[in-house]
Symmetry: C2
Subunit: 292 residues, 2 copies
């Protein structure tokens, strides 16, 4: 059996790096081999799983500096048949890659908007006059470098290695504690035969809408969790896309859906929510810098 895993491409993205870590852990723990399938967007990676082109997708969820990856949240809500199997937390170290002879000759810096934002202080200090150009991924613009000596790309050192391109500066992110959380996602009916952790799930993710816009509409569902002593590790609002001021709430909880507390919480929650979708219970695996 060989699994296929969708991820944001082209080769060398941080998402691919997280997917490779997962693939290596999987074969070590379970003997199951997996191949990687790069897709041009996060939405297309998740759609690939939803329609069964691949068994899994690895997608970024949030970065410690730039926050939520909204495309992941919105697509997960829309697709309706996906389940989170595992979370990975990976340290992010950005490098500046260019065929320029030095920083002085750089005129344009390309990267994903999240990476540009995570290095904005460094860019203002060392390259204050360059043009910043957002791209679909951190590796997509690497193709421009060989033909343009005034261009640079912010990406991972793995990107430089893969495409055999020179690194001009390393560790250029403004905050050293920069990390990104990823989810490993399957179809919801899939039996989890590729779990790499045998422990009980530590987290559950779900999303809901509240029935009406009145004082306390959001407090009530949150009180349910507080009273049952379930810690909320994250809350994120997203527009319902129906009208301005109507939101979905994405919530991560520190509990397994099968626990008695969570069962009771989910039962009470039906009273205070309109639509509720449970994206699954899972463990969180931190990736050490040495494992990359």
């Amino acid at each position: 059996m060989t699994l296929s895993i969708a991820h944001l491409g082209p080769r060398g993205t941080y998402t691919e790096q997280a997917a490779i870590f997962y693939v290596n852990s999987l074969i070590k723990k379970t003997g199951i081999a997996a191949t990687l399938c790069p897709y041009p967007s996060i939405a297309q990676s998740l759609q690939a799983v939803a329609v069964g082109y691949t068994q899994l997708a690895v997608v970024p969820v949030e970065n410690s500096i730039e926050g939520s990856v909204t495309m992941t949240m919105d697509t997960l809500w829309q697709l309706d048949n996906l389940r989170i199997q595992l979370a990975l937390v990976m340290p992010i170290v950005h490098t500046l890659i260019s065929c320029a002879s030095g920083l002085d000759s750089i005129k344009t810096v390309y990267s994903h908007p999240q990476a540009l934002a995570q290095c904005q202080g460094w860019l203002e200090r060392f390259l204050p006059t360059v043009k910043l150009i957002p791209t679909n991924s951190t590796t997509e613009p690497l193709q421009y470098l060989e033909s343009d000596n005034t261009a640079a790309v912010i990406t991972s050192s793995r990107g430089a290695q893969l495409y055999n391109l020179p690194i001009l500066a390393s560790g250029i992110n403004d905050y050293p504690e920069n990390c990104t959380r990823f989810w490993v996602v399957s179809q919801s009916q899939t039996e989890a035969d590729y779990h790499i952790s045998s422990a009980d799930a530590s987290h559950t993710s779900l999303a809901f809408t509240v029935p009406s816009n009145m004082p306390g509409a959001l407090v009530k569902p949150l009180q349910v969790f507080a009273q049952l002593n379930i810690n909320l590790s994250r809350i994120e609002s997203r527009p319902t896309k129906r009208s301005l001021g109507e939101y979905l709430f994405f919530i991560d909880l520190e509990a397994d859906t099968t626990s008695a507390q969570m069962q009771s919480a989910l039962e009470q929650l039906t009273t205070y929510t309109e639509v509720i979708k449970i994206f699954g219970s899972y463990n969180v695996l931190p990736i050490s810098p040495l494992e990359l």
Copy 2:
């Protein structure tokens, strides 16, 4: 007296359109004239006010489809000395502008990531094979059109008019109910002598961090508002940028800070929050499509 107003440029952006509406309302209601100063980013528009280059800035806050403009929230929290004077809600109608002879010959579509995302369904249907290139604003890429007949830009019809460029398709946003909320922002110590509404403020915006990561840490501040019957019209979490899982909460409330309820809420809130910043009380002015 002539006010200067910073906004995201170059000329023809939706933010400029909102700023023009504000300038026209201001002169009609108060006789105060204002000039517009385009800046290359939202952060730079807000910084211009913070250091006194301009008296006001108009910045986008959230779109009904794509959600929060995180650069606005993060910069407002960082700058510390800004106050919201007014909110504007503007309907958004995207058009496709190009010098191509028809849709068939288009190979590349440029626009701000929010605009690309708001038209993704239309793009998949009518231009499924084109390359989508994100840009810093909806008007920045208009410069490419005259020299490249295979390029198109998603922007406002005003952008087409201003730069005298042909419209290939109108109303291409996936959801007709597409609107964006903007804030008019000044320095916090500024006397509000350019209010265009005399009514009591209907909304207050604030942000806070909670002291510790434990069950109920967020529920307590929200309960304060619910018990005082103050409606929460929006909650948005943003990373503190210290470590993954630590958040700021941005909250919009339907009350004026000077009301007895809000005074009581703010007093109670100090017990449950770590740092709290109040960005001001203001009215919300909807812009009708006929006024654009």
